[in-house]
């Protein structure tokens, strides 16, 4: 499939039905159910995973927000939370786990390393998991405080509440393209460029 957008751009496919009172009520019911019972697939790799565990523990308790059960099987999960840095060796693993999750699914990129590569602009590190899987919410921080992660989860809940089943391209599965990449190669190089001082952090290189 790859990333093919409809002729007029994203979100312009008009379905046969136009929104009416019934569809908005149905939307609000299903979105309420989905957003308040997000079961996360904790793809925890590094330090952010520890803050994720702290969010799940009794002080911050994300079970209050519906994330009662960490689902370690992707088949039963709704949201993939990539908590921590992602080296290239782990890239096919997260892609496979993402592909194994059934729709509806969302993803949260927790922390600077998952969002952009963080402080690791090195030969091993994926410069942002959005070059591999689609991301819905980015939570900045190194590591983000549990409050930050909870804010990110709440943002995702708001995003879900704005969804509508009339959107034709909403639950589209974004597979790898024919070249084996998720984003076009040029785009990956563009977003991964070292910006500023990521190699040498002073002028005295």
């Amino acid at each position: 499939m790859g990333l093919t957008l409809p002729e007029g751009g994203a979100g312009t496919e008009v379905s046969a039905m136009s929104p009416n009172w019934v569809t908005t009520r149905l939307d609000s019911l299903s979105n309420w159910a989905r957003s308040n019972s997000l079961w996360s697939m904790p793809f925890g790799t590094a330090c952010c995973a520890i803050e994720f565990m702290a969010s799940a523990a009794s002080r911050f308790d994300i079970a209050r927000f519906g994330m009662e059960r960490m689902s370690f099987s992707p088949r039963q999960a709704d949201v993939l939370i990539c908590a921590g840095r992602l080296p290239f060796k782990l890239a096919p693993v997260i892609r496979k786990i993402w592909d194994q999750m059934p729709q509806p699914k969302w993803s949260i990129s927790m922390g600077a390393c998952a969002s952009s590569g963080g402080i690791f602009d090195t030969y091993t590190m994926v410069q942002g998991i959005d070059t591999i899987i689609p991301v819905d919410v980015y939570v900045p921080g190194c590591p983000p405080r549990p409050e930050g992660l909870i804010y990110g989860i709440r943002l995702l809940q708001k995003k879900i509440q704005g969804e509508s089943f009339l959107d034709a391209d909403l639950r589209q599965e974004h597979l790898l393209g024919p070249d084996g990449l998720f984003l076009p190669a040029r785009k990956i190089d563009e977003v991964s460029e070292p910006f500023g001082n990521s190699v040498h952090q002073t002028r005295s290189a």
Binding site: E51, A54, A57, G84, R85, T122, Y123, T124, P143, E173
Partner: protein, 431 residues
């Protein structure tokens, strides 16, 4: 809506002519084994655990060859978190490496920061002030406690006990509050600098820490009562994953893994640093080298850490107002007010920020007793401000290498327990 077709490859190696999954005939110790003579009873099974798995304590992949439920061989595959720390360190000034150290062993960040500062100070021949030394001891022991709390909580979960995880993580939160009030961060503290610390402890820190030391042993007692004489816990941990003392030395194990096998090697006692030889504490030594002894050693280490913390707090009271940084302007940034007004201070500030603190030509290895074992930093310097080589001697990496030996002939569920007992942190293993 478009349909979605996705080809999922089978995890078995392939299908043979009859459409049956073909097994890879493995098993060095078994006699000649041919795939077409198989009946289910004599086949070995391959199980892939990880790299994404709740019980592998990070991104570790274990390929297990099973004969029924018994493990014939375990092959650990690591590198799923390799971030290029050592390479990155060659592009950073010594003080800029401090934030990197938080992220290797992220369960005990302050201890890594201190180890880095000590190693760089050994290289540069700097001796820190007394108050700084005592505060670093406080940092190391707090890190020991929080690391062991994670270990105990997650090992409990692996073996089926969920409640102590919540109790122990609450205690971690109390220490995180203290860490945050001191350094500004809960986890990535970056609190040490060459020649000193980032900041002195704030108001209320000592009172908070004293309160913690007073009440924390009660939680430890509760956890002790949950585990130590619990039939399930004892049944699952005693006699499992045994390694003898001489084997442990030969495998270069360190920390509680080594001490649980009866070897009395603690860097704090044998190669003292930070004045540990002047503190009054005991080092628990195990006897059987199984998971149970490792648990007892780590539990007792937490009690001993509280003891050290109380002594350190007493010393801090006597050192009120003492400086935490050495008075060497080539190494410590001058206060901003002076840097803005005094020419000499401005030049020192400029040189340190723009060029970094230069180390003399030479090399230094320094090992400290981290919660997981002996963490060593090895610096090689060519006279510039960036090290030629920064080697991290990772205790978990070396401890994990003995996993295949520990898992010979155990059951599959024991593999999880043994893996948990090694106390690994993948950030340090893979660096």
């Amino acid at each position: 809506m478009s349909t979605r077709t996705l080809e999922m490859s089978l995890s078995t190696p392939g299908l043979d002519a009859q459409g049956q999954p073909s097994r890879v005939p493995l098993g060095v110790r078994l006699p000649e084994h041919r795939a077409d003579q198989d009946d289910m009873g004599s086949e070995h099974m391959l199980i892939n655990i990880g790299p994404q798995h709740p019980a592998t304590h990070g991104v570790l992949r274990l390929v297990v060859e099973l004969d029924g439920e018994t493990v014939v061989r375990v092959v650990p595959h690591i590198g799923y978190l390799h971030s290029g720390f050592e390479k990155l360190g060659e592009y950073r000034h010594y003080n800029q490496i401090v934030p990197l150290t938080d992220r290797t062993d992220y369960l005990s960040p302050m201890a890594n920061n201190v180890c880095l500062a000590l190693a760089a100070e050994k290289l540069m021949g700097i001796e820190t002030t007394e108050r700084c030394t005592v505060l670093r001891v406080v940092a190391c022991e707090i890190s020991r406690i929080i690391s062991h709390l994670v270990w105990l909580g997650t090992t409990g979960i692996d073996l089926g006990a969920f409640t102590p995880f919540l109790w122990l993580f609450y205690q971690r939160e109390r220490l995180y509050n203290l860490q945050e009030s001191w350094t500004g961060a809960r986890l990535t503290t970056s609190m040490a600098r060459i020649g000193g610390l980032m900041a002195d402890i704030p108001e209320g820190f000592e009172a908070g820490l004293r309160d913690f030391c007073r009440t924390f042993p009660k939680t430890l007692n509760e956890t002790d009562s949950m585990f130590t004489r619990n039939a399930i816990w004892c049944g699952r941990t005693q006699g499992v994953g045994v390694i003898s003392g001489p084997d442990a030395i030969n495998y270069s194990l360190s920390g509680p893994m080594l001490r649980a096998s009866g070897v009395d090697y603690d860097v704090r006692k044998d190669r003292p640093y930070l004045g540990y030889d002047s503190y009054d504490f005991d080092v628990p030594i195990g006897e059987h080298g199984d998971i149970y002894d490792r648990y007892r050693v780590r539990l007792e280490e937490m009690y001993q850490s509280v003891r050290i913390l109380e002594q350190a707090l007493d010393r801090l009271e006597k050192l009120k107002g003492a400086p935490i940084n050495v008075a060497d302007p080539r190494v410590i940034l001058p206060p901003k007010s002076r840097a803005m007004s005094d020419m000499e201070a401005m030049i020192y500030h400029f040189k340190q920020v723009m060029e970094g603190v230069k180390a003399p030509v030479g090399e230094a290895y320094l090992g400290v007793e981290n919660p997981k074992g002996e963490l060593g930093y090895y610096f090689v310097s060519d006279g510039t401000a960036k090290p030629v080589r920064w080697r991290i001697r990772p205790p978990s990496f070396i401890n994990l290498a003995c996993l295949p030996k520990l898992c010979e002939g155990v059951l599959l569920s024991d593999v999880i327990a043994i893996n948990a007992s090694i106390d690994i942190v993948m950030g340090e293993i893979d660096r």
